[in-house]
């Protein structure tokens, strides 16, 4: 994870766009909450700037 986040930073892509959490199969509620939280954060960040450039 640290490697991926660092590589993204080098290229100017916010590492906040990648989340890594450990959630047990029995923690359905926590899973749902985490996803909701992530979606909310991503909406704040807006679309990935790489998308706007001429290539993906």
């Amino acid at each position: 994870m640290a490697i991926l986040k660092s590589s993204l930073e080098t290229f100017g892509i916010s590492p906040e766009r990648v989340w890594f959490r450990f959630i047990s199969a029995s923690e359905g509620k926590l899973f749902a909450e985490t996803v909701t939280e992530m979606v909310a954060r991503l909406k704040e960040l807006g679309p990935n700037p790489a998308k706007k450039l001429c290539e993906v």
Partner: protein, 372 residues
């Protein structure tokens, strides 16, 4: 550690090395030897696996050219048990890449006698060819100047990755061949340990005294290289972290995959970039173009380089063969220095330092992102 002298004498450097290696083969220290050897026209030097001492005649291990990082060839020779002792004549970037390949389970050190040689840089293969064919090239003369840090030859100089590299002596060597800070036209330094040292003494090598001048010269060269590296990184730092600047910098990428092919660490048999994931349909391309209004082709260039940094950054030994192989001469060696250093710093990891050290990507660390 025992130190010996190998007398060379003007015009006789490669002959002296050939007779030393011949002794290693004949006395059974090694059964086969992988060493750089001149091709017939002398315009190139390629790694050659030699079993008959007669094949040593045209070796030129210290010639400042390397077509590829030889760690890959050593991996091919040791990935399964070769059943024989193989001597491999390598530079620092090659021994360090080899150690990374061992950790990635692509190579094995068990049957190897690593013969490490000092390296003060290699020329781009094409430049080397031009130096040879242009006439006036004298290996011993170049080595004598390079031993003091002067590496330029006419209008050419060593590769950009080499100019940033302070790894003069080859790490992990069982036998070391030294010439930096010395006068290689007169003598070379041979170092070995324990039983191997006794066998070398049996080959008629003379024991030598320590040479403090050599250490001082190497320190001076290392300091100059480090300063140059910091300057290159400083120049490049403005680009990193700026997505559109990075896209611009990488725009010359042809997606030829030469960098991937030349990289000693990039070992996957099947690369995701030649898999169906990246085989797009005409509808895909037209769809993206419509979405954005314009689509640069070939596509996925940014993702390709991001993936290479992500996969290889940790283990990058800075050999710069990616950049040498790049037809567009993208500044890959400095990009990998910057990106590699970042991840290596997070884990306190130095690629090529030790075969026992764990690879960061195979080791779970709960706190790898802290403190950040």
């Amino acid at each position: 550690m025992k130190t010996f002298t190998l007398s060379t004498g003007a015009g006789n450097l490669n002959n002296a090395l050939a007779s030393f290696f011949s002794g290693l083969l004949e006395s059974g220290v090694v059964d086969a030897l992988l060493a750089p050897r001149e091709v017939k026209s002398k315009s190139n030097v390629v790694m050659t696996l030699i079993t008959d001492p007669a094949g040593l005649k045209s070796i030129s291990p210290l010639a400042p050219v390397a077509m590829q990082n030889a760690a890959r060839m050593v991996a091919s020779l040791t990935v399964t048990d070769p059943g024989q002792k193989i001597g491999v004549v390598l530079r620092s970037c090659e021994t360090r890449a080899l150690v990374e390949l061992v950790k990635l389970q692509q190579a094995n050190l068990d049957n190897l006698v690593i013969i490490g040689m000092d390296c003060l840089g290699t020329f781009e293969p094409l430049d080397y060819r031009r130096l040879i064919t242009g006439g006036g090239w004298d290996l011993e003369q170049w080595l004598t100047a390079a031993a003091g840090g002067e590496t330029a030859a006419g209008e050419y100089n060593i590769r950009s990755a080499c100019a940033m590299c302070g790894h003069i002596t080859a790490e992990h060597a069982h036998i070391s061949i030294g010439w930096a800070g010395l006068n290689p036209a007169a003598e070379l330094l041979i170092e070995a340990d324990g039983e191997l040292a006794a066998r070398l003494a049996g080959l008629g090598l003379k024991e030598a005294a320590a040479n403090p001048g050599r250490e001082q010269a190497m320190e001076r060269i290392r300091a100059a290289r480090q300063a140059h590296k910091e300057q290159r990184i400083q120049e490049f730092a403005g680009l990193t972290g700026d997505l559109s600047a990075m896209v611009d910098e990488l725009a010359g990428c042809l997606r030829c995959y030469n960098c991937r092919q030349a990289c000693p660490i990039c070992f996957c048999q099947e690369c995701v970039f030649i898999s169906p994931v990246f085989r797009h349909t005409p509808e895909d391309y037209l769809g993206w173009a419509r979405m954005k209004g314009a689509l640069e082709m070939p596509t996925d260039t940014l993702l390709f380089h991001l993936t290479r940094i992500n996969h290889m950054g940790v283990s990058c030994v800075g050999c710069g063969h990616c950049e040498s192989a790049c037809p567009s001469k993208l500044p890959l060696s400095v990009l990998f220095q910057v990106a590699g250093q970042r991840v290596q710093d997070i884990f306190g990891y130095v690629p090529g330092r030790s075969a026992e050290e764990e690879l960061p990507q195979t080791t779970y660390r709960e706190n790898e992102l802290e403190p950040r």
